[in-house]
Amino acid sequence: MEILVCARRVPDTSENEIEFNAAGNDIERDELVYSVNEADNYAVEEALQIRDRVGGSVTVVTVDGEEGEEILRRELAMGVNHAALVSDDAFNGSDGKGIATILKAFVEKGHYDLILTGVQADDGAAQVGGMVAAMLDYPFASLVNSIALEDGKLRVSREIEGGNREINEIDLPCVLSIQTGINEPRYVGMRGIRQVASVPIPTLAISDLAIDPDAVGEGAAKVKRVDYFVPASSKEAELLHGSRAENANRVLELLAAKGGLK
């Protein structure tokens, strides 16, 4: 099975202290460290496990600047067969639809049976996977937390609010957005990355993918960020400072008062 995983490089939320820039419309990006978006990493692991079961190959693609190579090397070290960087100044400022347009063009250059994305990027809006599927006219399942291959079809499950699970059958080729927790992604250390340091990673520009420049980039973006802020913390929060027993009693009182205990 030929599998494509769309991955993204994001500021690592566990290793950064996010602060705002002076203009207040974005975060301060100096001194940030980046990593592959967590859900995308689960998607790569899932693709590798499917490949190891049924054969085929795994390709990882990212739309980014030169820095995108950093995460592609990490995924190569994890064991993917191919990596591709799609990069062009014309892509800067693209909204979700713009990114989906770029990815659709990349998908059409190859022959993929299965396309995986992470359920959403840490700083994203969980829209690209669905849009790519629609543009390709492929079936789409989101929030996938298990995949089984049966008779050329996939059985995928997702969790329903409240903890129940639902199983869906889906035809190939298709697009799936992968939930974190679907597997346990393997560890990649510096040694693994060093071993793939010389593996060539092709870079594809707008001309390589025959994308209409008017369909991507800032000019085509119809969704634009206008503000970015930390919401004020709620006044409802109450910190308890008493002894353990006093706190426990107070918690019981509060739960009773708010209807949490019946």
Binding site: D12, S14, E15, N16, E17, E31, V33, S35, M78, E184, P185, R186, Y187, V188, G189, M190, R191, G192, R194, Q195
Partner: protein
């Protein structure tokens, strides 16, 4: 022909006695050589391990730990039993040899053991055989009746070892009886024939047997004599050839395991012996993934283990129900080698160990505290094996999610918390330090003689920053010209290395080494035993490093450090030995000396202290690991402190502090027990030139009582 002669004269069997005994000799020795050579096959395929250096040091260790049985009395009863058996075997070696030869060469006497010397030797060995026989009886009773808990085999590790142990005890007892009966019947026969005989040792097993059979007919005595001889010879060779199939193989291999034992504490073996750090990229595979990735010495360890259970008995991971027991790490490996390198048939090798022989949780469960290695009478190694297995798992990506994040953060930020590098020295700007001013950051503009290496936890953890400030105030109070690396310091990488991430460790080490060299300091001091061990053992080309407790003890002994008395007389202190200060670096007395230098300080010892200290739960990355366990090691440790009558635990390691502090809450002993670092205690009590009234304004750490 009636009388007692040499068994070699037996003529009324199908074959002459001499021929039969010679055939058994040849067969027994040939079998033994064949079996042992088969056992050596994996060792030849193993990784290299240069252990042929320092012959005199190694011989010294052989005389102390092998011949001197140094570790055995740590378990008083079993140890004494073993010393008696061992001494008996050593004494009986020449006698057994002579008896074997007599069967083919009548009248043979060991050179140097004739005449009076021979008689003394005979008397000694009469008693030795008796003692060994009695020890077998006692050992069998222990095994069958008293069943010490440490011999138990949990069902997940297979069937119990009692039957095999008792069988072997029985064989040795039989050997002693046969040997004694052989002497007794000969002496009894000679006495009946009126030949002059020297007396057997009074009340020895041969003497008692002689007394019992003294009046039976000469013909019966002759029968008993050759029968005993045959039983002795067959039992001897059966034991010789049976030993390589189980725990008794240690009789042969222990000498070599002790001779080739690891000489340096606290160190780790390199990824591959003979490959320098710069050439590691050329090594195809890291660590131990298949059995053949072990070094030959580590394989020899598997053969030498005597299954005494002392390692697991002292292992904190085993004590709290983690899925690890050092004993079974070895036993499983030995079962593996017996199965995959059979004596008859072809070897089949190359199977992955993780997932088959060992589980991932088993290998991550070890805190590398070293209690098992400290206890092992045969000096077998565990930490190097665990770390090698982890190196293989790291390379194969088999790392629990809970460890992946801190490892990634160490790679990108130089600390496991993912905190910003520029905030590493924020603790040193605290208003609590106003008395001495902010701590100097050695960034090229400032110089100092002494580097205080802080390491990650003390730099970033709110509670542990108190150790950093206390250490700084102490160094300033002692008039040291010191500074810190600040943002240029990265994690020492001590646990990174012990968790098997060698490449990341080397990056951290190289970065820190460069930063330390740039700082131009002459010596390093740290309050973190893990950083101490890393800088001392894992780093090269850095100035000498000391743990703060060593510096404090030296100053106290020199009379340059004085303390105010403890004001609260209700406090009872106990000192918890951090593994990497105590067992791995033998610093036991210095911190105790500092504590005892504080006037009025009431200190008690926990039962498990010094080299038997019980790990608090592990440092560094172990804080992030989520083990399967029944209870926390720290909670067990806190209860031990309470049992000793203490209400303040003093330690000298930030990781011990985290674990014990959590454990006090976990055990529900808040208010009854407290923990503090040695530096905090010293900081509170040291007499400063600035006068005690100023010292009182210092940050105070609350502790119970």
């Amino acid at each position: 022909m009636v009388g007692i002669y040499s068994p070699s004269y037996v003529a009324d069997w199908l074959v002459p006695g001499r021929n039969l005994f010679a055939a058994i000799h040849v067969l027994g020795i040939a079998c033994f050589i064949y079996i042992v050579s088969k056992r050596m096959v994996p060792l030849v395929r193993a990784q290299r391990d240069p252990r042929f250096d320092h012959p005199f040091i190694r011989l010294g260790r052989v005389s102390k730990f092998w011949l001197g049985q140094w570790k055995h009395p740590r378990y008083r009863f079993a140890g004494t039993l073993h010393i008696l058996i061992f001494a008996g075997f050593i004494l009986l070696a020449a006698r057994a040899f002579a008896v074997l030869i007599v069967g083919v060469s009548p009248g043979f006497v060991m050179p140097g053991l004739s005449g009076r010397t021979g008689h003394i030797y005979e008397t000694l060995t009469d008693y030795a055989a008796t003692v060994v026989f009695l020890c077998m009886v006692v050992a069998a009773i222990r095994r069958l009746v008293f069943k010490p808990a440490r011999y138990a085999v949990p069902s997940k590790y297979g069937k119990g070892h009692t039957a095999d142990a008792v069988f072997l005890l029985g064989l040795i007892a039989l050997l002693m009886v046969a040997d004694s009966l052989f002497s007794a019947s000969r002496f009894a026969g000679h006495a009946q024939q009126g030949q002059p005989v020297e007396a057997l040792a009074f009340l020895s097993l041969p003497w008692m047997l002689q007394t019992a059979i003294g009046s039976v007919s000469l013909a019966t005595l002759w029968g008993l004599n050759v029968g005993a001889y045959l039983v002795h010879e067959i039992t001897f060779y059966f034991l010789l050839c049976y030993r390589p199939f189980g725990i008794q193989f240690h009789v042969e291999t222990s000498l070599f395991s002790v001779y080739f034992s690891k000489l340096e504490r606290g160190t780790l073996k390199p990824v591959r012996w003979g490959v320098s750090d710069e050439h590691l990229d050329q090594v195809k595979s890291f660590g131990v993934k298949t059995f053949e990735d072990f070094t030959w010495k580590h394989m020899l360890d598997f053969y030498s283990c005597a299954d005494c259970g002392r390692c697991a008995d002292n292992c904190p991971a085993h004590a709290v129900g983690r899925p690890l027991a050092p004993r079974f790490l070895t036993i499983k490996a030995r079962d593996y080698v017996f199965q995959h390198y059979p004596v008859l048939g072809k070897a089949d090798n190359g199977k992955s160990l993780i997932g088959n022989l060992y589980s991932e949780e088993e290998i991550w469960s070890c805190t590398t505290c070293g209690a098992c290695e400290e206890e092992c009478p045969l000096l077998l190694e565990y930490i190097d094996k665990i770390v090698d297995l982890r190196r293989g798992m790291i390379e194969d990506g088999k790392v629990p999610q809970s460890l992946q994040k801190p490892l990634k953060a160490l790679e990108s930020r130089g600390n496991p918390y993912g905190k910003m590098e520029k905030k590493r020295a924020d603790w040193a700007k605290s208003p609590d330090l106003q008395l001495i001013g902010p701590v100097k950051v050695l960034d090229g503009k400032n110089g100092a003689d002494t580097l205080y290496f802080v390491d990650s936890i003390t730099s970033y953890d709110d509670r542990m920053q108190s150790i950093g400030r206390a250490t700084s105030r102490i160094l300033a109070g002692l008039g040291k010209n010191f500074g810190i690396l600040g943002a240029a310091e990265k994690d020492s990488g001590h646990e990174v290395r012990r968790f098997g991430e060698e490449t990341l460790f080397l990056a951290l080490r190289d970065h820190n080494t460069e930063a330390i060299k740039q700082s131009g300091v002459q010596c390093i001091v740290t309050a973190d035993p893990h950083a101490y061990n890393a800088l001392k053992r894992d780093y090269k080309d850095v100035p000498a490093v000391e743990h703060i407790s060593q510096l404090l003890a030296r100053e106290a002994r020199a009379g340059t450090l004085h303390f105010n008395a403890v004001d609260n007389k209700d406090r009872v202190f106990t000192y918890h030995d951090p593994c990497y200060l105590g067992r791995h670096n033998q610093v036991y007395d210095d911190p105790r000396h500092v504590l005892d230098s504080i006037p009025g300080l009431n200190r008690v010892e926990m039962k498990r202290s010094r080299d038997r200290s019980f790990c608090c739960g592990g440092g560094g990355l172990m804080l992030f690991y989520e083990p399967k366990e029944e209870q926390r090691m720290g909670v067990v440790r806190v209860r031990m402190a309470a049992e000793a009558g203490a209400n303040v635990i003093v330690t000298a390691c930030p990781f011990c502090m985290v674990n014990i502090e959590d454990a006090i809450k976990g055990a529900g002993m808040e208010g009854k027990m407290s923990v503090m670092d040695l530096t905090e205690l010293v900081d509170q009590h040291m007499v400063r030139e600035t006068g005690p009234e100023k010292a009182e304004k210092l940050e105070t750490v609350t502790y119970g009582g």
